[in-house]
Symmetry: C2
């Protein structure tokens, strides 16, 4: 039985009956009913003619090809295409688009004018099914920018599966023109853009390759851990989930950290999970209340091994069309990174290096650091320079900061002398080869703050880097374990990181941890550590050093006492990594249904008003008077 | 460099320094520090000697083999094993266990008595690392029930990585003795049981094979959809998540139903997701507040095609060691299933068939159905029969029900006459070949209630089935679209199912939907439908028929108007499917960290009391007086 007979024998016939004399009804009440023998149709095309590629992308559907699939060698074949009406030209040429690409349809020479008139009336973006024959385009019609540009399909039957019946918020041919809130509200239309299709399909492929590497090549086990869990003391703000038990709540996990440690205790020694995590961060730009991380943990491992794993993993999954990555990634200690780039997430290829100028200034009371941006005088406008100065003074009020634009060396020398009386200007000029048209940033103050101020400059002022190092990975290691914040000691990362040396009361701020951050092109894309597996040490850190009530962590401490192997792991930020890979402005462009930076879902309107039933069920009253 | 040198040159040397004269410290403050050159150790064993299998299960760790890996051909090799101390015999023989299996270690002939004495003192389940040499066991020591039973490892160095320092709640050698709440509270110990290891590892493998099939073989795209979404009107009770915006809440999705439909509108035409879903079902046994489903949706498809996809998927992923499944699965309409088995999730291989006895009873005012359980008289105790009767009368108070235990045919005839005056007993006996030692269940009342009562009997009374049909799949189709509940019309499944015929005001309860349930061994393991893609029809169903305010669904209706292709899909219950595959009593045994049937996490104690900070942040007061 050929397709034509199939079409006739199936209920597609009933559907096509709606098209009297080839004229389309406004909206054909279409349903692919169970009597359509799709298996037969597909078999013919797939298994018997061997026409399809290996991906089987058309199996289980009523199409024979996607809109990206037909080539000149398909000429003469009868095909069924399904897709969206992107564009009509001269009432005869139809661009049919799906998630894969587009194909040109053309009505037959002898088509009735009524048909052509009707085609004109179909709203753009309506859903069509076309049965027709593939032919070569005339030479002058060939479109080399379209994968199917060599061919077109002569329409034999055209079915309007579903007509657009509303004013669409934006046109699909103008990607950059819609504003983001409109795109988020009508995400189901926005997703049709080739860019969004690419991003979501790449995301799926990348996560699949991660799983193939970890499960098939490295014997890891993916374990789903609960997201409704107990509140973690400290760390990010966690969402709460009230239960019907009065006053009792779950928290949505901010990461599976404790749970994966429990898995190590439980002999699941090579764990990973593509884990959904939650943080109630309020209005922080480019964060999402729910996000995805590739969460990994291993027993009987060490820091080098985890780093090696990640380097091998990323090499394996990196899309070949985006260029190779070079391993091993360079490593910088936290101290080196700060001293060299002023940042613990430096873009090592696109940053100027910081130099210490203290020695040139006889009476310097604080350390003086400088960043020389060669031949950059004309790269920032006066306004941009002022904006940068404001940024620094706001973020680092205690740092003495200057950004000098060298139009004339003479003026520069005078200015420098004004700022640092007695500075050996000639030595500075010679040692750093400073000349006209350079930009020089200088920061003086307490060491890490002055360095960070210059780091901000590096962040906002990326040096042109004409290089093959498109992907600039770097590991940052040897972080301090603790820091002071408002006179309170706290973990730099979290209380579970294994110290590199013994902790005493004297060296709290000096002790380094086995913690490692992964930085890509100046963005933190991952972080992990070797964990404490000794219950006494963990108790000491939680209780004696951090002053966290040990009861809140008793399940973890009890687990460490029950036979816990040495272990460590890492988590990669999937959204951030993809956003860099896809070169998008925001992580929202690699997430199917993201929320705004205020946490709103513009599509559904969530969050919405709590209902009376839910108030009762969860014993909640909403406070009328805000007390804080 | 060989391992020995490696051990000596690395900080394992430092660690082993803790073992003075081969005597172990109580707890060696062990940390695998970054100076251990694990790469080198592993390379020797893996890449150079080619000793490992392909799974690379030891990469990135300090072991050379798992405890399940050594065989007689490994004799003479130097190895490093890591694991848990399961058992000590004669102070010399140590059973070391990890998540893969166990290996016997033995101290050398010339070991000091101090060493042997100390081994005796190591608490069971402590974590050890052993460096030693593989040798064949003496013939009399060979253990054929252990994969490594041909060999043992002579201990050269033994490191106590972490000693158990608490009383363990149960012994690892007695799986069935611990009660479940103890197992859940100490899940990190419970997970070490070989059964739990098998279940979690099978779960990971099965989900990976599903992904391989869908992505690599069937060109699907996995898309993560948000779990913080808008409340769905109707359906299961959804958890709410308060936000800092006063009185505004997200809901945790009960399924990605609406979101996957939006993806279809957005040209992601072959979607799937291993999706976390949430339902606040309170105390329903064997349900979890969060659970996992394999969620699938396709455009341009139909019911047959979705069913074919699932049959191919399950055939592909089914673990070969568990026997084959036979496709295509049989199909029953809802009506047939009810009339034959009294259930819409029948165990078709293990159920007796219902017969209609109405015709034998001259004055029957209601339909009479019967279930004859051949030779089953002795299979239920009097108590079990009474319990069943109580169950039926509680669940179906309007159904007249009898369960007759035929010890004597004469008595049976008399009893039957008492119940149904005028019944043609002889015809019944002949037609159904009833004889002594049979059990006969009879139910009379309104059709579906009477049938369901007998379905309950089938559910509780599985007929022995000695067959190769270990996996009894069946599709249930042609469900009614609507049903009456407390005089209100409602969807049998959900409001998005495509009707098979036009809906009029007269045929509401007759219209069937394109819905399909997948049943395995009497358990519903999946369900799906072809969806409504026409905005007018969807509006009619939501607003006119179901009386749901259309505003709550405006985002969906608007999407249907924006170019929505015909589409349909299905969701498989991953927890339930695995529980059947693993033959566990409960889905909790295939979930790493499940909650009790009251929704409690015994491990962490969640849900816990809401904090004052959270009350303030989310503007919540807890109601003191319960009003309902």
């Amino acid at each position: 039985m050929n397709i034509e007979q199939n079409l006739m024998s199936s209920n597609l016939r009933i559907l096509s009956a709606n098209i009297k004399n080839n004229i389309l009804t406004k909206r054909c009440k279409f349903s692919i009913a169970k009597t359509v023998d799709i298996k037969e149709i597909v078999k013919e095309h797939k298994y018997e003619s061997g026409l399809h590629n290996n991906s089987n992308v058309n199996l289980y559907t009523s199409r024979t090809h996607t809109c990206d699939e037909l080539r000149s060698e398909d000429c003469g074949k009868s095909v069924i295409l399904c897709g969206w009406l992107e564009y009509v030209r001269l009432n005869r040429f139809i661009i049919l688009r799906d998630g894969y690409g587009s194909t040109q349809l053309i009505t037959p020479e002898n088509a009735s004018t009524e048909l052509n008139d009707f085609i004109k009336k179909i709203p753009l973006e309506s859903v069509l099914m076309c049965y027709g024959k593939v032919k070569l385009r005339p030479v002058e019609e060939i479109n080399k920018n379209q994968a199917t540009g060599m061919i077109e399909v002569i329409v034999d039957q055209l079915l309007l599966l579903n007509a657009v019946d509303t004013k669409l918020p934006f046109q699909l041919r103008k990607f950059n023109k819609a504003n983001e809130s409109l795109r988020l509200k009508y995400r189901y239309v926005d997703l049709r853009y080739p860019e969004m299709q690419y991003n979501l399909r790449l995301r799926s492929k990348l996560l699949m390759k991660m799983r193939e590497f970890l499960i098939n090549h490295r014997a890891f086990v993916e374990v789903e851990t609960p997201t409704l869990f107990k509140k973690t003391h400290g760390g990010a703000q966690e969402f709460i989930v009230p239960t019907h038990e009065k006053g009792k709540c779950y928290s949505l996990v901010q990461s599976p950290q404790q749970l994966k440690q429990m898995l190590m205790v439980g002999s699941i020694d090579r764990y990973f999970q593509v884990a959904k995590c939650y943080r109630d961060e309020g209005a922080k730009s480019d964060r999402q209340p729910e996000f995805t991380q590739l969460d990994i943990e291993m027993s009987f491992t060490n820091q080098d091994a985890v780093m090696l794993l990640i380097e091998e993993l990323l090499s394996f999954v990196w899309p070949s069309e985006l260029g190779k990555i070079i391993t091993p990634f360079p490593r910088l200690s936290y101290e080196e990174a700060m001293l060299t780039y002023g940042s613990d997430k430096p873009d090592i290829g696109c940053s100027a290096k910081i130099s210490n100028w203290t020695k040139y200034i006889p009476k310097a009371s604080k350390e003086v650091f400088s960043l020389v941006l060669k031949n950059s005088e004309d790269k920032l406008s006066k306004k941009q320079i002022n904006d940068l100065k404001t940024l620094i003074s706001t973020n680092y009020p205690d740092v003495k900061f200057s950004l000098l634009n060298i139009r004339l060396l003479k003026t520069f020398k005078e200015n420098l002398q004004k700022i640092f009386n007695g500075i050996d200007v000639e030595a500075v000029l010679a040692d750093y080869n400073i000349s006209e048209h350079d930009l020089v940033a200088i920061a003086s103050g307490s060491k890490y703050k002055a360095l960070s101020a210059l780091g901000k400059i590096n962040e906002h002022f990326k040096i042109d880097y004409s290089s093959d190092a498109r992907w600039r990975f770097v590991w940052i290691v040897d972080f301090p374990l603790f820091e002071m914040d408002s006179n309170q000691i706290q973990s730099v990362h979290h209380p579970f990181t294994q110290p590199q040396t013994e902790i005493t009361s004297d060296n709290l701020l000096e002790v380094k941890g086995f913690h490692y951050d992964l930085v890509l092109n100046g963005n933190e894309v991952g972080g992990g550590s070797i964990r404490i597996h000794d219950a006494d040490l963990q108790t000491k850190v939680i209780e004696s050093i951090l002053n966290i009530p040990i009861e809140t962590m008793s399940h973890l401490v009890e687990a460490l006492k029950s036979g816990c192997p040495p272990h460590g792991g890492i988590a990669l930020g999937v959204d951030r990594l993809l956003s860099i890979l896809c070169n998008t402005n925001s992580i929202r462009d690699v997430i199917a249904f993201p929320k705004t930076f205020e946490g709103k879902d513009l599509l559904s309107g969530a969050p919405t008003e709590i209902t009376t039933e839910d108030r009762k069920r969860y014993h909640l009253k909403i406070d009328n008077v805000e007390k804080t």
